[in-house]
Symmetry: C2
């Protein structure tokens, strides 16, 4: 996934009434408005995801498909699962996603950060990450880690992530 | 933690009867014997850890202390916690440790790999990692990740870990 723009053309907004926001997206949801078009986007850690829709989203960013059954289990055992929705009162559409694994206290690792290419460049990826860090802070996590693909290293660096602290390297092991 | 030796002076052994091994270290435990001294070491994912002893072990490798309460919670929410013991029928001593977080199906991340410096250079760190990968494979995990400190990058490389696949970088974020 490539976040094309450094700037942001979205801002936090309150266009949806708090009752309606809670009804559709549940508690702890945050909305943003695109300055030019007035389109509304919402981050939510509670609104349930449709796994088919998630699979389609991940395909738009070019990721290989994973069996739905395995994805379901992975989400069930994640400590935080966040959807980014293009708001619609009847049919909110999933246009972004991220999740974290971890022990919920000392370590949290961010995985599968994705924003539908159609909506990249607006600053939504940045808001999604801010939302995740805020929610992790709420549960007392002081350090968050992730493995950044080569294309998004700059994206994370700009947001204050430290790359390879003290010469650390990421290491992957694949089963045969 | 620095694993000093490339070689190994330990080998898999069967010095402890399987009943006794199970009694002391529970199921899925593996023992190793040091070729020169006959000392026996056991990897176990089930034998309960004394948190004070674990804290002392982590101090021997120079890690900053963490509140025991937080460590307990972190272990409770880890998907795999492994102790490496110097065998003694009455008082096995914890001389190595590692744990994994993850969703238990798609992602597993290894943390806190430590071997008491007195026992480094025998190949125990390598056996500890082999044990972890074997146990993760058992539950169907096909990809394992870790953040390798600069000093141990070579250690992991030698064991077949891929460093920074496709230019990936590890990124850390610290709460203020």
């Amino acid at each position: 996934m490539i976040f094309k723009s450094q700037g942001s053309s979205i801002k936090k907004s309150n266009s949806i009434s708090s009752n309606k926001l809670k009804d559709i997206y549940d508690l702890d949801s945050y909305e943003f408005t695109q300055k030019n078009t007035g389109e509304i986007f919402v981050c939510s850690k509670r609104k349930e995801l449709d796994l088919i829709e998630l699979d389609q989203l991940l395909q738009t960013v070019g990721w290989s498909r994973r069996p739905i059954r395995r994805v379901k289990r992975a989400l069930d055992f994640s400590i935080l699962v966040v959807g980014l929705w293009r708001h619609d009162e009847k049919f909110p559409r999933l246009i972004g996603f991220a999740r974290c694994t971890g022990d919920g206290i000392l370590e949290a690792t961010v995985w599968d950060v994705a924003v539908n290419p159609v909506y990249q460049g607006l600053g939504l990826g940045k808001e999604l990450m801010k939302y995740i860090l805020k929610e992790l802070k709420k549960i007392g996590i002081l350090k968050v880690t992730l493995f950044a693909d080569a294309e998004v290293v700059t994206f994370y660096k700009r947001q204050g992530w430290i790359l390879e602290p003290r010469g650390s390297k990421c290491a992957f092991w694949y089963a045969n």
